[in-house]
């Protein structure tokens, strides 16, 4: 059964701005809404305890419920109805189907499945090519081929209908040669019928009542439409035509899918310049039929990248209507808030952050909430779709309520950790949909885990201004400049170039930087310049990853830059934080021990009140220790500054911990916590030019220990020692 859920247009706003909430109440029942401040979103018995505070807001009260639907699946639409209102037609394209069998899929045409009118090229549920024409009153005229399409092979497919003769012809021409079954196939049938077209021209899906139907999985390249019934030789000539001058006036549209990869607008090279748009972010900058391995960047060889990869589970923006707004009052404190919805026993939270207006810092400390990483993990399907998840977690799968709901409701989309239904990796992930793992009461990972820091700062009475990754990316150094100290969340894994450069520039200008987590600054991402709330990530070359980018598809469509790990892109995490991802495990966390470096007078302030032999963080909510889950190490070769002090290390890890894949030159067994010296968490400190400094914990689990023993513990003490010194203007 569908649940009461929703999302907001912004993830962060400042006083004077409005946050719009979009809600779906599937049973159309009314619900209560109220504004709450969230101090701690983790309700586990071993954490600080769930802490929310109700606040007055104009939207408080009962709201009429309505069901809002999700139209999942990517497609192309050209809105010029008149241009495609054809009685005689040829459709042709190169296609690379990835899941040809199983269900009917749309390729291209004006087909209206409800009215059974228009013209349309399909793949049937048996994986065969099919062409239909109809007018809504007579029986549909369909020509089917019998030879199924092979998955992940290129074909030239085409269909013609001649209204004078009533002849429909369909062609299936493999672009490869095998010993068997690789012949071209052509079939024709005759039935006179006057096509009636009801709507616009679509590629890769039909539509019923505004929702995409029969979505195609696979690539489409060089789709063309002619208002003549072309012969095969003309079809083969037209598909290879790439300039306006080579096209005659009968060509209605000839789209170049390899151009404008960062835009949703598709260029028609035909004389009519019939613009089309992509919807729901199909994957761009993918290999086309001409890719031969000699080129790897679509910007260098556009002709090799003439295709778009469509998926039935692509989703950018649910596009729901707004149900209510929250206008953030002047002077409203920075923090984490949510619109809390209740309907009987059902409860839902739509979280958002409030920051100070631009240029008006209200404290000396800024906390960066890693919302790019929340986006990367949004609605992930680890337990049900990763065959190796139990080996990584060293535990059997246990599904919580959110994971069950996501399993049962495919229309909420997937994360950049998941693969599409056709097995290709998901490169784009958006927050403009209900994101069920960015909610209170979820596992203390990312969103809920970061509230351990918010909770601790409040407990210790530190004033803080909260910002998100989107603010950091959009505003750069001007955002951070007013602050004496900038603190991260527990797992700031996904960073754009602008975000990386901003942190470096901030440090170089005397800023103080506290990295409160593990596996940060790892994957390179891009935000889209026109589409808010979506990131792109390519799992290129190497890394600890749940899927691997296809060869030749390592470059970001949003920017044209090479994707992958930052360590392979000139900015290793060690250059930002002194440490970088070295191992992960999720069974038992452990403690840090002080190193000889910790007795250096430069770091005396860090260990004030900490004994020389004291175990640091042999407690905590996340695995029972402060060092755990994903951990980092210092490495001079990877960019740790030469003057950095490794002031504590944790080494007592189990065999459930594994050294990261990107550093293995050969596969072997000695990569676990008990056998590999690289499986350790290093805590580091170093000074930066201009009197600044960097302190890094090297562990996601660190913040899970802050509240232990009623906040009186050595993890809390060290964090407080560092923060107080970092807020002190005295130069390092």
């Amino acid at each position: 059964m569908e649940k009461l859920t929703g999302y907001s247009d912004k993830i962060c706003g400042s006083p004077g701005e409005a946050i719009s909430f979009k809600v779906s109440s599937p049973q159309r029942l009314s619900y209560q809404a109220e504004l709450v401040r969230l101090r701690c979103a983790d309700s586990s018995a071993t954490g600080p305890g769930f802490k929310e505070f109700s606040l007055p807001a104009a939207f408080t009260g009962e709201h009429t419920g309505r069901r809002q639907r999700i139209g999942i699946g990517s497609f192309v639409k050209a809105d010029n109805i008149t241009a495609f209102d054809l009685k005689r037609v040829t459709l042709l394209s190169l296609i690379w189907p990835t899941l040809p069998e199983g269900k009917e899929q749309a390729l291209m045409g004006t087909w209206d499945p409800k009215a059974k009118s228009g013209y349309g090229l399909f793949i049937t549920k048996h994986g065969t090519l099919s062409f239909s024409v109809g007018n809504g009153s007579e029986p549909v005229f369909t020509v089917n081929l019998e030879t199924p399409l092979q998955p992940r092979h290129w074909y030239l497919v085409a269909a013609t209908y001649n209204d004078e003769t009533g002849e429909a012809i369909i062609h299936q021409i493999p672009q490869f040669q095998y010993a068997y079954s690789s012949d071209s196939i052509t079939k024709s049938q005759i039935k006179k019928l006057s096509i009636r077209n009801n709507g616009c021209f679509r590629i890769a899906s039909w539509e019923i009542d505004g929702i995409p139907k029969s979505c195609f999985n696979g690539k489409i390249e060089r789709p063309r439409v002619s208002k003549q019934a072309l012969r095969l030789s003309e079809i083969e000539s037209l598909v290879n035509s790439e300039t306006s001058s080579s096209l005659n006036a009968d060509v209605v549209a000839a789209w170049d899918f390899g151009a404008n990869n960062s835009s949703d607008i598709l260029m028609d090279i035909g004389h009519h310049r019939l613009e089309a748009r992509t919807y729901n972010l199909p994957t761009r900058a993918v290999r086309g039929s001409r890719w031969d391995g000699s080129q790897h960047s679509f910007t260098q060889a556009p002709s090799h990248y003439g295709a778009i990869h469509f998926h039935e589970d692509d989703l950018y923006d649910c596009g729901w209507d707004t149900d209510f707004q929250f206008e953030i009052p002047d002077g409203f404190p920075s923090g984490l808030y949510a619109a809390k919805l209740t309907m009987g026993e059902e409860e839902e939270y739509l979280p958002f952050y409030v920051r100070p207006p631009k240029g008006t810092a209200r404290s000396r400390l800024a906390l960066l909430i890693p919302t790019a990483s929340y986006c990367a993990y949004a609605n992930y399907h680890v337990g049900t779709e990763w065959v190796f998840s139990e080996q990584i977690l060293n535990a059997f799968t246990v599904l919580d309520a959110e994971a069950q709901y996501l399993q049962h409701h495919a229309d909420l989309g997937i994360s950049s950790y998941d693969s599409h239904v056709d097995g290709s990796g998901c490169s784009y992930s958006s927050r403009l949909r209900p994101v069920l793992n960015m909610r209170p009461h979820t596992w203390a990972w990312q969103f809920a885990a970061d509230t351990h820091i918010i909770d601790w700062l409040e407990q210790k009475d530190f004033d803080v201004d909260i910002f998100t990754d989107e603010d950091l990316h959009n505003e750069g150094l001007s955002l951070l400049e007013p602050y004496s100290c900038v603190m991260t969340g527990t797992h700031p894994e996904y960073y754009s170039r602008n975000m990386m450069n901003t942190l470096l520039a901030y440090q170089q200008r005397g800023g103080r930087f506290m990295y409160m987590g593990g596996n940060g600054f790892y994957w390179k991402i891009d935000y889209h310049k026109d589409f808010p709330g979506v990131i792109e990530v390519r799992r290129a070359e190497d890394g600890s990853r749940s899927w691997i980018s296809e060869p030749g598809e390592y470059y970001h469509s949003f920017s044209g830059e090479l994707g992958g790990l930052w360590r392979r892109n000139g900015l290793p995490p060690q250059a930002i934080a002194g440490i970088g991802f070295t191992a992960q495990g999720f069974d038992k966390s452990t403690f840090y021990e002080r190193t000889d470096d910790s007795f250096d007078p430069r770091v005396e302030f860090v260990f004030k009140g900490i004994k020389a032999e004291e175990k640091i963080g042999d407690f905590g909510e996340m695995g029972g220790g402060a060092a755990g889950f994903e951990i980092d190490r210092a490495d001079l070769q990877l960019g740790t500054p030469p003057h950095a002090l490794v002031i504590a290390s944790a080494t007592n890890f189990s065999d459930g911990y594994h050294w990261v894949a990107e550093e293995h030159t050969h596969a072997h067994k000695a990569i676990t916590g008990t056998t590999c010296p690289h499986v350790r968490a290093d805590m580091v400190f170093y000074e930066t030019p201009g009197g600044g400094a960097v302190f890094s914990t090297g562990s996601i689990a660190w913040s899970g220990a802050l509240s232990s023993k009623n906040y009186n513990n050595n993890v809390s003490r060290i964090t407080e020692n560092v923060l107080r010194r970092f807020l002190d203007p005295t130069v390092f």
Binding site: E385, E390, Q391, F396, T397, L399, H408, I414, K588
Partner: protein, 99 residues
């Protein structure tokens, strides 16, 4: 590749007694084999009431399909882990373990 020796019930009972580890090297190998089962049909635990109730579910292996439950609910997490281990052991060896 190794298969699970169903006569090594001592390893199963080691898991029953210490489901959260640490585990012996031999039990770790058994667990690694049990955890390589295909996604479709994989028995998993589903928490049906937070911190109170768990059931063994059959992963359909296809997004959007219902998870089918089998057997009775468990009312403590350790018991649920042991119940899941027994079920996977049975599927791997054809032999049932005593509870």
């Amino acid at each position: 590749m190794k298969t699970i020796d169903s006569s090594r019930k001592d390893l199963a009972y080691e898991f029953r007694d210490t489901p959260f580890g640490p585990h012996s090297a031999e039990l770790r190998e058994v667990l690694q084999i049990l955890r390589w089962t295909p996604l479709k049909g994989r028995r998993i635990l589903v928490c049906t009431r937070p911190n109170e109730e768990w059931r063994i579910g059959i992963n359909p292996g296809v997004r959007g399909k219902e998870i089918i439950f089998e057997g009775d609910p468990f009312y403590n997490f350790r018991g649920a882990l042991w119940g899941l281990f027994r079920r996977r052991w049975e599927l791997a060896t054809g032999e049932q373990l005593e509870s």
